[in-house]
Amino acid sequence: MGRILATRLLRLGATLFAVTFLSFIMTSLLPGDPVNAILGVDAPRDQETVDRIRDELGLDKPLPVRYVNWLGSAVQGDLGESYINRGQTVWGDTIVQRLPVTAQLAFMAIIIAVILAVPIGVLGAYRQGRWEDQTTSAGVQVALSVPNFITGIFLIWLFAVKLKWLPASNWNRISDKGLIANLETAILPSTALALTQMAIFSRLVRSDMIATLQENFVLSAKAKGLSDRYVLFRHALRPSSLSLATIVGINFGALLGGTVVIETLFAIPGLGFRLINAINQRDILVIQGITVFVAVAYVLINTIVDLLYTVLDPRIRKG
């Protein structure tokens, strides 16, 4: 276990270096000058002001120097300030503020997806090739091919416009309005996100389950006279969920940075929404900060998933 953790941490370091460096280069390569964005389109621009701002932001220094400077403060927890909204820190005022929103969306999406995907996948494997399997497979195929903003628009139309059960957009924080009000605004966007995930998960569960059902231990469990449901869920499911655990981890990480469209559609003040704004405004440090944060979270989550394998399969524990 100690060795696994050590290699993991080493790999984490390497990944973080690559991620920060690449995103730094790429944000610098974005067309458009941040100084223009800061000054605004109509502002009078004399060379003196431009130079002053460049100097202030350190933009006059060469790229490697800027990277090292940024990295130096980043490891101390200082991700800098927004160029546009001066005084707004990237860590405290942006990430800490908005992460809970995005994380909740991603988490709820994953939970909804898993809750739907496991029974669907198990049913498909159990009734492989029969009408139950064919119907669910077709449904899954549809869910997989519909982009989540279309699902989102449909959900808004159905539950907000037609039925008027839920608000169409906006976000209620738990701290302001309480849990119920929060869930009312969270359920539609997270369902929209969940549908694609559900499709991916249930396919994995189905194919892994089909393989597991060929195993001898499934036949021996059956020969004990246990009910099909017991054999499926208490014997076959756990050995069939290793790929599921992997993809849940990967996709949770991906959702942290991938809720952009849904957050925009539902006007949710999460990380993705802010990221889009920052990109439009060439607010380089905000882009940089959010990107790095998402990458770190992504790697950390996957490390946790790898450790989770040992829970799912005791044979890995000694390794």
């Binding site: 004990k224 006279g225 399969d313």
Partner: protein
């Protein structure tokens, strides 16, 4: 909808004392894209309470499918099961999987071939031992733990109190097979199927497992079907042996008569393929020439004829029926049975004609008695090994 049978059914049963298991003309055919695989093709046998039947044959002879069919474990949409299986007076052939679930584990249980794969790798041994006990008999959690420990003790696993919390990968192969046996015994079944229970194990462990099965069978007065490819395994441990080839029983006899007077060339070939202690070093193993037949399009006539050193034109044209031999209960299906003058003639004729199979058979030892005594000798040696290895290897 009675499943095992009502009380009246049990009463009538006790009166006429029917054998526990009566199988008549059982067929198991698999529909696959290439055609219909006749894995079991018209098998009949009876098995008295407390007796052991050995089913012997090479891979692909249908012996495993037969045992699973009798237990009705292979119910699926592409499987056609016909014939009759009367278990304890109740017909099983038309039962659904759901109805059979009430018999599985409780009335009939199976020990599988490979203990490495027939235990769930991610479930602790304790739960695997007793989950069906709890499911069928409603035994409570604490009680089932005590039961599990008792079961492990009965199959001679040391320190059962701690072993119960092991995962299968923490045990040796022999121990796992002991666990599998304990699982099969948990609900006290009347009928035990052992499907090649020792094939995946070390030779020394094999013997321990066979002994364990035998003592458990006696203690619990179980009826047993032991499936194996090894005549040596069933030699001293069964009351009756059925030799299977291409989905059919080709010879069936009480164990002593089979070894004293085997009539079918396939039985003889199986016996010859066991290496003998008395043979000189580096004697070539005598394998059976050719391959098991294609079960979709079996050869015409006797299905063993393409591999048989005695085969004549008649064998290739007409399928021999099962006929009674001189000893009661001994049946075989062969036109030129081993030990008859016709058989010798057929052999000489084939040899003279230069038939390849016959030439391959040339040079084999022919004295059957000598071979049987070899098996017994080998058994004795195993016993000695067994005593020195009495402690379960880990």
């Amino acid at each position: 909808m009675t499943v095992v049978g009502s009380d009246t059914e049990r009463l009538t049963r006790a009166d006429n004392a029917e054998p526990l298991l009566v199988v008549k003309d059982l067929k198991t055919h698999f529909k696959i894209d290439a055609g219909i695989v006749k894995a079991v093709d018209g098998v009949s046998f009876e098995l008295e309470r407390g007796k052991t039947l050995g089913i012997v044959g090479e891979s692909g002879s249908g012996k495993t499918v037969l045992s699973r069919s009798v237990m009705r474990l292979n119910i699926a949409s592409n499987v056609i099961n016909t014939g009759s299986i009367r278990y304890d007076g109740v017909e099983l052939i038309d039962k659904s999987s759901k109805q059979m679930q009430k018999l599985w584990g409780v009335e009939m249980a199976m020990v599988f071939q490979d203990p490495m794969t027939s235990l769930n790798p991610v479930v602790r041994v304790g739960r695997q031992l007793t989950e069906h006990l709890r499911y069928h008999l409603g035994v409570g959690k604490a009680e089932s733990r005590a039961n599990a420990i008792e079961l492990l003790r009965s199959v001679k696993i040391p320190e059962p109190e701690s072993r119960i919390d092991n995962y299968p990968h923490e045990m040796s192969g022999g121990m796992r097979q002991r666990v599998c046996i304990a699982i099969a015994l948990a609900c006290g079944p009347k009928m035990l199927f052992a499907d090649e229970p020792t094939t995946a194990l070390d030779v020394t462990v094999q013997h321990q497992i066979l002994n364990l099965l035998a003592t458990q069978q006696q203690d619990r007065f179980m009826t047993m079907i032991m499936v194996t490819h090894d005549l040596g395994v069933v030699a001293g441990r069964t009351d009756e042996i059925a030799v299977m080839y291409a989905g059919k029983v080709v010879e069936k006899a009480p164990t002593p008569s089979l070894f004293a007077d085997m009539r079918h060339p396939y039985t003889q070939a199986l016996l010859w393929s066991i290496p003998k202690v008395s043979q000189p070093k580096h004697t070539r193993l005598s394998a059976i020439a050719g391959r098991p037949p294609d079960l979709i399009n079996p050869p015409s006539g006797c299905s063993f004829s393409p591999r048989c050193p005695y085969a004549q034109d008649k064998c290739r044209e007409e399928e021999p029926p099962l006929v009674a031999a001189s000893t009661p209960g001994h049946e075989f299906a062969c036109w030129y049975p081993v030990g008859s003058p016709e058989n010798q003639e057929a052999y000489d004729r084939n040899l003279a004609a230069g038939v390849a199979v016959t030439l391959a058979a040339e040079g084999r030892i022919t004295a059957t008695e000598e071979l049987t005594s070899d098996i017994i000798a080998a058994d004795l040696i195993n016993d000695v090994i067994d005593i020195s290895n009495d402690e379960v290897g880990n």
